[in-house]
């Protein structure tokens, strides 16, 4: 069974790019355009190994709030938070989450997921 990653990004192009990059590395990808869509997917999908989410998105919650929510309901889920606007303080992120600054490269994403234990 391949490792499943939920990619949450409101910019369709960037989401597509990220999804394709991760798919090329052998991951199974689920895509959401905002936190509300992501929560729907989480409710329908029992096993998601990692969440990769943008921060600044329209919808009922932003990516940081989504990351904190996921850390609470899925403590085993690895979390990477991406933004071109914010550089969240360590306290703002869930304990084990990592932050990546846009634009992210394939190598940085791969390295981060590896550091988070997602293989």
């Amino acid at each position: 069974m391949s490792t499943t990653i939920l990619v949450v990004e409101d910019d369709g192009l960037i989401r597509m790019d990220l999804a394709d990059t991760l798919a090329d590395q052998g991951f199974a990808i689920l895509e959401a355009g905002n936190a509300d869509e992501a929560i729907e997917i989480l409710e329908q999908t029992p096993l998601i190994h990692a969440l990769v989410t943008d921060i600044d998105m329209p919808g009922s919650m932003n990516g940081l709030e989504l990351a904190r929510h996921v850390a609470e309901i899925r403590p085993d889920c690895a979390i990477a938070v991406i933004s071109g606007r914010y550089s969240p303080s360590q306290g703002a992120l869930p304990a084990k989450a990592r932050f990546l600054s846009k634009p992210v490269t394939e190598e940085v994403v791969a390295h981060t997921l590896k550091a988070l234990g997602v293989m």
Binding site: D10, D11, G12, L13, I14, R15, M16, D17, D20, T21, G33, N34, D56, P58, G59, G84, R85, S101, K102, P103, V104
Partner: protein
């Protein structure tokens, strides 16, 4: 001298024995006698003037002197603290000032024998005072022209001695402050601790300097309180003995400046964010182009075209100002590139609808990809083909944006077995919107593409 009267002898002795400049004018012919002190005031007319008539000594100012000497001979004394003459006593005109008294000298029977004058030339003192006043006026001008507020406080009770116009404008122009203490004139600063700071500066001699200090001042048109930010300096002032006798206040209202700096910082941060997002967008376009291109030459051409479309869309966004670009502008931009005005084949219908910057880039890119596909495989690849583009506000709550691309008259098409990079970029939808959806239907008579998104986020600037 044996024939001199007692009065003349006595006064001559007094005059010659005095260090103060003195003069006597004697007899009907007004013979002039003076001592060494007065001789110095005669310039190069001494010693010739000694013993001559008073008029011959002061011929150049006689018009001014004559009424006074005549009055003295009539028995009327004259005393003046400062009389100004323009004299030629040294061969050139010079402004001179004197303090003097002309006293009639009488014999025992009351007849006026002559005039006795004790005199001091005060030209140097007058010039010094004038220079000091000029300097003081110049300093005052500097204070008045200063872009910052300046006030001078005197004494330990901090009493206003001076305030420039900018200072008045800062604290409220209609206030009457000169002669009053700070606590009386600007009473609202007492509870804010400013009197304590002034006391400390006066007591210790150490200046107080603060940047962007919050202060509440009753400076509104009707004396209402306003919160301002000021740069403030309290500088102790000292007298000649070095003792502190006042405080110089320099204050500058930086409320608007700080607000502008905050706006600039926000703008700079926003620009940085946009740049990063757009780099990420270009990165994604490059990735999609490269992974699907058959060869490097095609990839280079397609990537160049796509980045050019983004650049043009940026121009449109910037031309109208943030949030002012419309769907029609973006469609027109595509038509200029892909249609022939002499034989137009693209028809458009749609309202004047604003579009936010992020969705605007996506609309431009999608239209470009659709047009490129139409030229290669669709309606624009045959002479009879044409395209209808329409957009509208839809939904029961009028909360959806809809756009439709309908190709007709082109060669028959089928659903492609593999998605190219153009189709992938189209299916990415509209950036920055909620519930964006792109549906492509390959109908036999031409491609139909439906693009929808939440209207509020489609039009929002973010």
């Amino acid at each position: 001298m044996d024939q001199w009267s007692v009065e003349l002898k006595t006064l001559t002795n007094v005059m010659l024995g005095s260090l103060q400049p003195m003069l006597m004018v004697w007899g009907p012919s007004q013979v002039t006698l003076y001592n060494d002190g007065y001789a110095a005031m005669c310039g190069n007319r001494h010693p010739d003037a000694f013993g001559q008539s008073f008029q011959s000594l002061w011929h150049d100012i006689w018009e001014d002197v004559e009424p006074i000497i005549t009055a003295a001979y009539r028995g009327e004394g004259t005393s003046m603290d400062d009389i100004q003459f323009t004299m030629y006593r040294n061969g050139y005109p010079e402004e001179t000032h004197f303090a003097f008294s002309y006293t009639p000298v009488r014999d025992p029977w009351g007849t006026v024998l002559g005039m006795f004058c004790a005199c001091t030339e005060i030209t140097t003192e007058v010039m010094t005072r004038r220079a000091e006043k000029t300097l003081r006026d110049r300093f005052m001008q500097v204070f008045e022209l200063s872009p910052g507020g300046i006030a001078m406080l005197a004494g330990p009770e901090h009493r206003f001695e001076y305030a420039n116009e900018e200072y008045y404008s800062m604290i409220g122009a209609s206030r009457d402050i000169i002669g009053k203490t700070v606590a009386e004139a600007v009473s609202e600063v007492v509870r804010q601790g400013f009197i304590g700071i002034l006391d400390s500066v006066y007591r210790t001699g150490e200046a107080f300097v603060a940047r962007a200090l919050p202060i509440e001042l009753n400076r509104g048109p009707d004396g209402e309180m306003q919160r301002r930010l000021i740069d403030l300096v309290y500088q102790p002032m000292r007298n000649d003995a070095g003792a502190i006798n006042g405080i110089l206040v320099q204050a500058r209202d930086v409320t608007e400046l700080r607000a502008e700096e905050a706006r600039q910082e926000l703008l700079s941060h926003e620009l940085g964010h946009r740049l990063k997002n757009q780099l990420a967008m270009v990165q994604a376009i490059a990735f999609q182009t490269l992974r699907n291109a058959p060869d490097i030459s095609t990839a280079r051409k397609r990537l160049s075209e796509r980045i050019s479309v983004l650049s043009d869309a940026h121009d449109t966004i910037l031309e109208g100002g943030r949030g002012a670009s419309t769907v029609r502008q973006l469609v027109d931009q595509m038509i200029i590139l892909h249609d022939d005005p002499a034989q137009p084949r693209i028809r458009i219908v749609g309202p004047n609808l604003k579009v936010g910057s992020r969705p605007a880039l996506s609309v431009s890119l999608i239209l470009h990809e659709l047009a490129t596909n139409a030229l290669k495989y669709g309606a624009l690849s045959s002479p009879e083909g044409s395209i209808d583009i329409s957009w509208r506000v839809a939904g029961n709550a009028k909360d959806r944006f809809e756009m439709e691309w309908q190709e007709v008259g082109g060669p028959p098409i089928t659903n492609p077995s593999k998605q190219g990079s153009g189709t992938r970029l189209i299916s990415a939808g509209l950036n920055g919107t909620i519930n964006s959806n792109v549906k492509m239907v390959y109908e036999p008579d031409g491609l139909r593409c439906f693009i929808t998104a939440d209207l509020e986020t489609f039009q929002r600037e973010h």
